[in-house]
Each structure stands twice: as C-alpha cells, then as structure tokens.
Symmetry: C2
Subunit: 385 residues, 2 copies
Amino acid sequence: MTAAANQNGRRATASRRLERAGIRDVAAAAGVSITTVSDALNGKGRLPDETRSRVREVAERLGYRPSAAARTLRTGRSGLIGLTVTTYGEEPFTFTEFAYFAEMARAATSAALGRGYALVVLPASSRHDVWSNIALDGTVVIDPPDQDPLVTELYRSGVPVVSDGKPGNCPVTAWVDNDHEAAVLNILEHLSEAGARRIGLLTGTSTDTYTRLSTEAYLAWCDRVGQEPVYEAYPAHDPAAGAVAADRLLARPDRPDAVYGLFDPNGTDLLAAARRYGLRVPDDLLLVCCSESDVYANTEPPITTLSLKPRRIGTTVVNLLIDAIEGVDAGTGTTAGRLFPPRYRTAGTGPPPGTLMPTELIVRASSQPRAPRTTVSPPRPPGEA
Amino acid sequence: MTAAANQNGRRATASRRLERAGIRDVAAAAGVSITTVSDALNGKGRLPDETRSRVREVAERLGYRPSAAARTLRTGRSGLIGLTVTTYGEEPFTFTEFAYFAEMARAATSAALGRGYALVVLPASSRHDVWSNIALDGTVVIDPPDQDPLVTELYRSGVPVVSDGKPGNCPVTAWVDNDHEAAVLNILEHLSEAGARRIGLLTGTSTDTYTRLSTEAYLAWCDRVGQEPVYEAYPAHDPAAGAVAADRLLARPDRPDAVYGLFDPNGTDLLAAARRYGLRVPDDLLLVCCSESDVYANTEPPITTLSLKPRRIGTTVVNLLIDAIEGVDAGTGTTAGRLFPPRYRTAGTGPPPGTLMPTELIVRASSQPRAPRTTVSPPRPPGEA
DNA sequence: CGTTCATGGAGAAACGTATCTCCGGCCTTC
DNA sequence: GAAGGCCGGAGATACGTTTCTCCATGAACG
C-alpha cells in the first residue's frame, strides 16, 4: 500500500523532517500519482468525482497547502499586482496623505481581491532590489512623470502597466484619467455664472498630468474669455507651502474674486487666508477646490469641491490591468502559446488606449453668492476693485 | 566561443524564443558556469574581483533580471509581508477609513521597504485562495479578534505573525499595543483636574482589544473613585451610529459634564450634539476624543485628542516581524539548518512577547475650562510665511 | 474478430535559481 | 620530492509545482 514511498526516492533518503506536506505526500497517502492530485485539486483533467473527492479529503487531512512559490515559478503567474505612486519630494511616499490616493488605493485593492489578485504597494523610489525581488503580474502606476524610467523598464521586461493619469512619454499598456480639461472648464463656467469677474488659480509646480492639464485648461480659458491669468504655483507636496501660496494669491494687487484650488488642503488654506484679509466667503470671494474630503461639507461656510471619483478610477485601472494580464494568454495561440513568456504586445503601433472618466462638482455655499437658489444678482466687487 | 550553447542541452533543442535572459544565458555569454554567475551577482563564494565585474557586466548587457519566483522557491523567502486588517461589517475593509489605519499602514510600508520587504494588503475576509496563492514571509495583523482562525492557521503553517493590539487567544509571535489602560486613566485624571464631576464614555460594541481594555479601564476607574458609570456603546463601524449615540449620551437624565469618545468621529459628533442641547464647550461640557486627525485643531472650539501614535506602532510591528523572520535561520543551526522549513518556534511556552507603547494627549481648549489658549499649534500670524 | 475510442491515470520534463560537493592546479613547506 | 593548503570554479541536485505526452484497459462497433 505505502509502496508509493519508493517512488519518490529523494524523500526516502532524507530523514523525515516535520516539513509541510507537499503534493508528493498527498499522492502517496491517496495512492495516486502527483498528476492526479494536481488535477483533482485544481479541477482539471478527466477524473471521476470519486477520485477527486478522495484526493481532496486526503489533502485536507494532511493540511496540504500548495506552495505559492512553486506554482508561480511553473505558471509564470504570481497573482500579485504592484501599486506604485510616484513620490513627491523626499518623503517615503505620499500615500494616504491625500484622500485621493487613499480612496483610489482602497478601491484598487478591493477590485484586485475581487478578481483573485493582491496588491503590493511599491513606491517608485524603492530600492531596485525590492522591485526585482518580487514577481509581479502587472503594475498600476499613479501619475507617472514624463519619461519615467521605472515604467519604461517595467514595460520592456514584459510587465503590463496601466497608469492612473495620462502618461507623457512612457509606453504603457493602457491608462485612465479624469477629463481634467472638462472639469476645469466646468468650474470656471460655474464661477462665472455665480458672478465671478476675475478667477484665480492655486496650482502646483510639479509636472504631473493633473497639474499640467488643469493649468493649461485654465490658461486656455483665460485666453478665450480675455481674462488676465491670476495664479500662484507652489510645490504641492509641501503641506506648509499651500498656505503661503494662498496668502500670496489673495495679497496680489489684482486680487481675484474667485479662486479654484487644485489640491485638497487649498480649501482651508484659502478660507484662512480670506479671513486674514477680511474677505467674506462667498460674498467677497468665491471658492472651489479639488478634494475628496468631506470636511468641506462642514466648514464655515461649506466649500464647493470637485471630486475626481477616485474609487471609480481605482476600480477601472485595476480591471484594465487584469484584463491585460489575462488577455495575454488568450492571444498567444493554442498549443505553443504556453511556451511564450507572458510578454504583453501592443497591437501594432499607435498610442495606448486611454479612458477618460468624468468628475463630479459638489456645489456648496462657497460658490453661491447670497441666495443659494438664485444666481441672478451679481455680487458687488470686493473692496475697491 | 559560443560552444557553451551545447552545455545547456535543453535550451539548444527548443527553438530560440525571445525569452528573457536567464542565468544560463549569462553564464554562457560570460564563459563561466551558472554557479559562478550566481556567486558573482550575489556577492558570495570566492571569486577574484575581475571575474565578478566581468560577469556583472555581461549580465547587465543582456538585461538579466533574476526570477523572483525561482529565487523564492529556492530560498524559501519571498520578501513579502502581509498586512491584514480585520474587517468590520460588510465593507471590503475599513482601511484608510480611519486615520489610524492609514497612518499605521503607511509607516509599516515604509519600515518594511527600508528593510527590503514589501507589504501586501490582505483583508482577513479575503477568499482563502488569495491567501494561499501568495508566498508570505510573515504577517502583520491589526487587532485580531479572539480565536481568530486566520491567525491560528497562519501560525500553524509556520508563518510568523505579529499583531497590532494585544491578542486574546491567538498564538502570535509577538504583539505591540498602546498602554490603553494608562491612556484612559490619564484622560480621566486630566478631566477631573479640569473640574469634571461626572465623566461619560462613548464606546463601541465590538470586542476588539482597544475597545475592551479602554472600557474596562473606565469602569475600574469609576469603581475606584465611586462614580456611577455613564456610557453609551454603539457599533463603531457604522458612521451614522456615532452621532446617535452621542446624542443619547447627552440626553440622559444623568448627563455627564465631561465625555471621552473612543473613536475618531466622536469629537464632531459630540460637538454637534452639545450644540443641539445648548451646551457650551468647554464651559458646560468637557470633551476629549481619540483621533489622529488634525481637524480637531481647527474646530470651534479645538478639541483635546488622544493620539495612539500609529506611525510608531506600524514601524515597531514591522521591525518585530522582520526580526522574527530573519531570526529563524539564525537559530536553526549550521549545516542541516538549511533543510528546515522557516518555521518559527516559540521559545518554550509562556505568552508571546508584547510591547506596550505610550500614547500622547494633545490638550486643546475643549478640556480646559476658561483658558482658551492652546498649548500646541499656536495660530499663525497672517503676514508670516 | 479486429479496429477505434473514450476513460483514467502515470511518467517525466520543465520553471530558474541557490547551494552543496568536489576537483584540478599551483604554491608553500618540511 | 611528496604532502598538504588555498584559489577558482564546475557539476549536480533540489525547491514543489503544472502540464505535456503517452499508455493500459475495456467497451462499442463494423
């Protein structure tokens, strides 16, 4: 009966340690071959149900757990997805610092788990050895800068890459982004209708897509309607710099009567700056900022915010990535396909497919002059302007 | 020259695909053996520097990247650490929902990366196949419930487990927690000194360590000083229930003149409830809540908070875990040790080693009668940078 | 009665690395 | 002049799966 012990000669020579049971042990205990065990547990092959259940029972009894490492080595699939956020400045990473990232990451994790994948968080600035030590089936990159060497290398080594934020010059498999241009135009229009005559912008100095597209849309709008641009830029990763920039913006001689702040803390920064200058919101100053935080529902006054809907973005990004990962095998043919490495190929040339997702403007008191329901009466210009 | 191609017979028979270069290819190109390549790249063995650098150069030229899966299989080490948060309720996971988790996770990720490990986020409620599909060197468990089956299984299969939150009956390798008892006593004392006669508690209905220990400390204190306990409990994972409970607490006939709220949103909840009942803070009601959010520095009035210092916890937990992981091999002997599975053994019996970490009470106006001046974060003058 | 087929399953070859064992030279040393 | 000792490196094995290939058996069918 237990003659099967002779089959695995190697194990017979080694003294029996208290190792975890392997597939060989299960096969021996069940009196079948390794193949049968593998097929039974993975639901493959042609086996009568009786054999299947018997093998499963034996495996359960022995506490058998397949080795993830061996499976990964054999199948070329790890079930792991990298989630990378390009780090601003020196800090390890600004993860969860802004609500956008936190929400996006949470949604991405959920979506991945729902499809049987797990997410591993890897800052782009991590030591190279950490990256190459992990078998990744694909990677989500949040807001890659132009010519990101990390993305380029990943792509070259055959790992699918989907970016959150339209990539500049990086070759990605696909990308997802908000329609920042439409969002900014919508806000500017909203503020104009609320009576704004001179709309200012609080923006960043970094070159990521979000900052760039938003600022360009603002400048283009200014050019179109004939307003002189009024904006201040600051390094968005510096939490203290935002307050300073907000102050600068409201201290200008050509002080705007409405401001859109591109970053999450801008709302409170602008509100505080307005108080310092004795400006009432919304009477003297209309305010909108981009934020996922609901604290702006309870500020005094509540502040109109633009939500980028990070949950939707995170879910979409992960689903696109997994589609690419799993689509690889489907496209490589029938028999010899298995021999091919899981290298993603772009169909011909041309830009990678991108998806634009809408944003949502949550209108609150800060952008509604006086009566919240009628916008007919234009506000009087603040001070002398 | 390229006669080395004959050595790897397997590769010679298969038609040459455009696969990624393996260690064999490097060996062939450099005219050395696989062993030499491995040693040269990993800094092991005894090789002259000339050979080392030559092999490295060839590897670089071929764009060689070692297979993480193969290395993991061979060494039994993946460089991956699981980060598990027990899910409250139905939601996928409350990660990043509370600032505590977000901060703790961020610190843990940083600490892990600093030591060459990466973190993979895995809710305790994930499908079992996701868990067993990933080779984990160890796991951090946030606040495991009593008799957590997940922890038990992990521990049994030899994976080191370190928990954030003193475990009830789970066998963990080590644990870290705040000194909740001391923290609560400190708060109660602080409130008493501020003039409180009847201190109420807003607590949770769940059985996690934090809730349990804090509540018990409160009850013990009441018993000691002879005050009748005044508390309301609600399911902490329900964001709406907190406001209701806060309202209930202040509506009681034996209304407290000071309240400590165990959860992050309790501060605003209690403040809102106080307003509804026309209670002035801190004149009629002293307020403290446990929170990592700095919004309480700007509420009206600013609210005294207890910080659990999640960054410190996250860092400590990860370092303890990695110590355990890397300590395993050190303890298994010299020669035959390599054959042993990386199974962690507790030294004898007895409880697992635990570390208590201090908390920090940030005193603001809400718990100081009269004195409106805060001791932290003084207001910034308008003109200052 | 011979041929085909479907069924149930076994054997063995990978996957790509790390590492244990061993071996040939050359140099020293008595 | 022979016996170690060190240097530089090659061979082979094992890590634990998945999966390709192939075989034996018996039934169906002409």
